[in-house]
């Protein structure tokens, strides 16, 4: 999973708008607790990915994230003692002691899992739809080295994936059983430090260490950039207002409390609409 320029409004929006858009969606996922609202944020991210042409990458990220979410749900249900509605009695368990699984702990675990999936999807959308070089240019006036480190760090993952593929191809040429994924992962991660040193050496040779703070360069925002910045601001405000005004109330403990008033579906629909509206204008998105 890495950035590749595609013909989509999000790719055409620029790094500033792309970063703000992904951050606003992630902030909404962190601020909101109602399952309906979290589902709306996740739906918005997936729909945005489809509209930006990065659906296969996000689908892959979601497939990786769902077992992780299930694990969070399971751990929460087993460890948390809160909740009044017992659904499974497990009695005395080693290490855990007296354990009852409650509906409330299970639902809250599912909410935490959904939040984790949504945040992973936001990260995946950022990785696939925001140009890391533009991000570097964006932040190099603030802190050149930090921006460089962050950009390289996000690029290390695709580099390691390519390394793994090369290792796999090389090992397939050898006789005997094909190597396990674990062996490949070990080989790739063992080379992380070497790869980092390679990159550092290359940067030094190219004079990155002697870089000075670049002069201010104002780049005008495109029509798409403005649309995504507006969308990000609206999503953020909507999330904060929903939280502060309790438009989508949700409480898991001690008993589930999630009254579905008229406001909750309206706000959820508004959030999805806000997130997708910038994709309507597809003029001038050709790369």
């Amino acid at each position: 999973m890495s950035y590749r320029r595609r013909e989509s409004p999000l790719h055409a929006a620029g790094a500033l708008a792309g970063c703000a858009y992904c951050l606003a969606l992630a902030a909404a996922a962190l601020v909101l607790s109602s399952p309906l609202m979290l589902g709306a944020v996740a739906l918005a991210v997936l729909a945005a990915a489809a509209a930006a042409g990065v659906w296969p990458e996000l689908r892959r990220a979601a497939l990786w994230a769902v077992p992780f979410a299930l694990l969070i749900m399971l751990i929460n249900a087993l460890v948390v003692r809160d909740g009044l509605t017992v659904i499974v009695r497990l009695g005395q368990l080693p290490l855990l002691g007296y354990t009852d699984i409650t509906l409330e702990a299970t639902v809250y675990g599912a909410v935490l899992g959904l939040r984790a999936v949504t945040l992973i999807l936001c990260g995946a959308l950022y990785t696939t739809a925001v140009d890391p070089d533009q991000v570097l240019r964006l932040f190099r006036r603030v802190s050149f080295r930090s921006a460089l480190t962050a950009t390289i760090a996000t690029r290390m993952v695709p580099v390691l994936i390519r390394d793994s593929r090369r290792f796999a191809e090389a090992q397939r040429c050898r006789p005997g059983a094909p190597p396990s994924r674990l062996a490949l992962m070990r080989a790739a991660s063992a080379g992380v430090l070497d790869r980092a040193l390679d990159i550092a050496a290359a940067l030094e040779v190219r004079g990155y260490g002697a870089a000075r703070r670049p002069p201010r360069a104002r780049e005008p925002l495109s029509r798409h950039g403005l649309a995504f910045l507006g969308s990000a601001a609206t999503i953020l405000v909507l999330g904060i207002v929903t939280r502060v005004a309790e438009l989508a109330p949700f409480r898991a403990y001690p008993a589930l409390h999630a009254p579905l008033g008229a406001a909750t579906p309206i706000v959820a629909g508004a959030l999805v609409a806000c997130a997708l509206l910038p994709f309507v204008d597809r003029r001038g998105v050709q790369g």
Binding site: L84, V88, R89, Y98
Partner: protein, 306 residues
Amino acid sequence: MLARIRIALAAAVVAAGASGCGLGPGPGTADVTLTVTRDFGSGQVATITRSKVPGSETVMRMLERSLRVRTRYGGGFVESIDGFSGTADRRDWFYYVNGIEAPVGAASTVVHRGDRIWWDLHDWSATESIPAVVGSFPEPFVHGIGGRRLPTTLECADDVARACSQVTNALDADGVPVASQQLGTGSGSDSLGVVVGTWADVRDELVASLIQRGPSLSGVYARFAGPGELQLLDPRGRVVRALTAGAGLIAATAHYSSEPIWLITGTDPTGVLAAARALTPARLRDHFALAVSGSSDMPLPLDGAT
């Protein structure tokens, strides 16, 4: 192979059922009382009696079902009840079931028929543990510990026959048969002990030696300075009052995880008789321990201003 798997699965299901596992909350229980107080029972917060209690009810679940509760550490530790919260200066919520400090957290303590659950917000600077309290009388004698009623042994000194008879009658009135035995025999494990005698008579008993070593070991905020003086302590363990002739004490304590022992004692036989007469649910209600002098009751620990 398939048959073996089926047998293993059937065995697992049977084992799970036998160990209390299952779907849903399971069968409920009845007649449980929940009392919430602060400052060693001196301030009442709530008293709730439930004639029917749902299955798999734990002390924490019953509390959360009845009152506004805030918890920490994954629901294992009570932070506040009905807005009353613990503070950083060693003041927290503690709970007792049938007058006995539970060895595990409230989320792991299952509620049984007839249990008296008592939550109290108090200063624990003098002791982190108060193994037993008398304020749930006639518990633990009637419904026992963990849903299991235990036999009660009564040890009386020779010079307090009237007090001994008073204690026997008080326990009889609540349907608790007692087995009388020689002073110094000890109640043994799996039984509740009641020791009656003047301080001079009982000072060599285990329960007396625990009390004499102060609240940090016994959880009882009183001690004797010789056989003729009963010192009453405040929540910080400081002596705030001394009683002499005619003073009595009802207290309960336990040695580590053994069953609690009740001590009904006094500076002299008059004091012991006064303490024995206080062995009623009304006079002991919500007190950690009780000192008596004549007809006046002094719940312990004693407020420093008293």
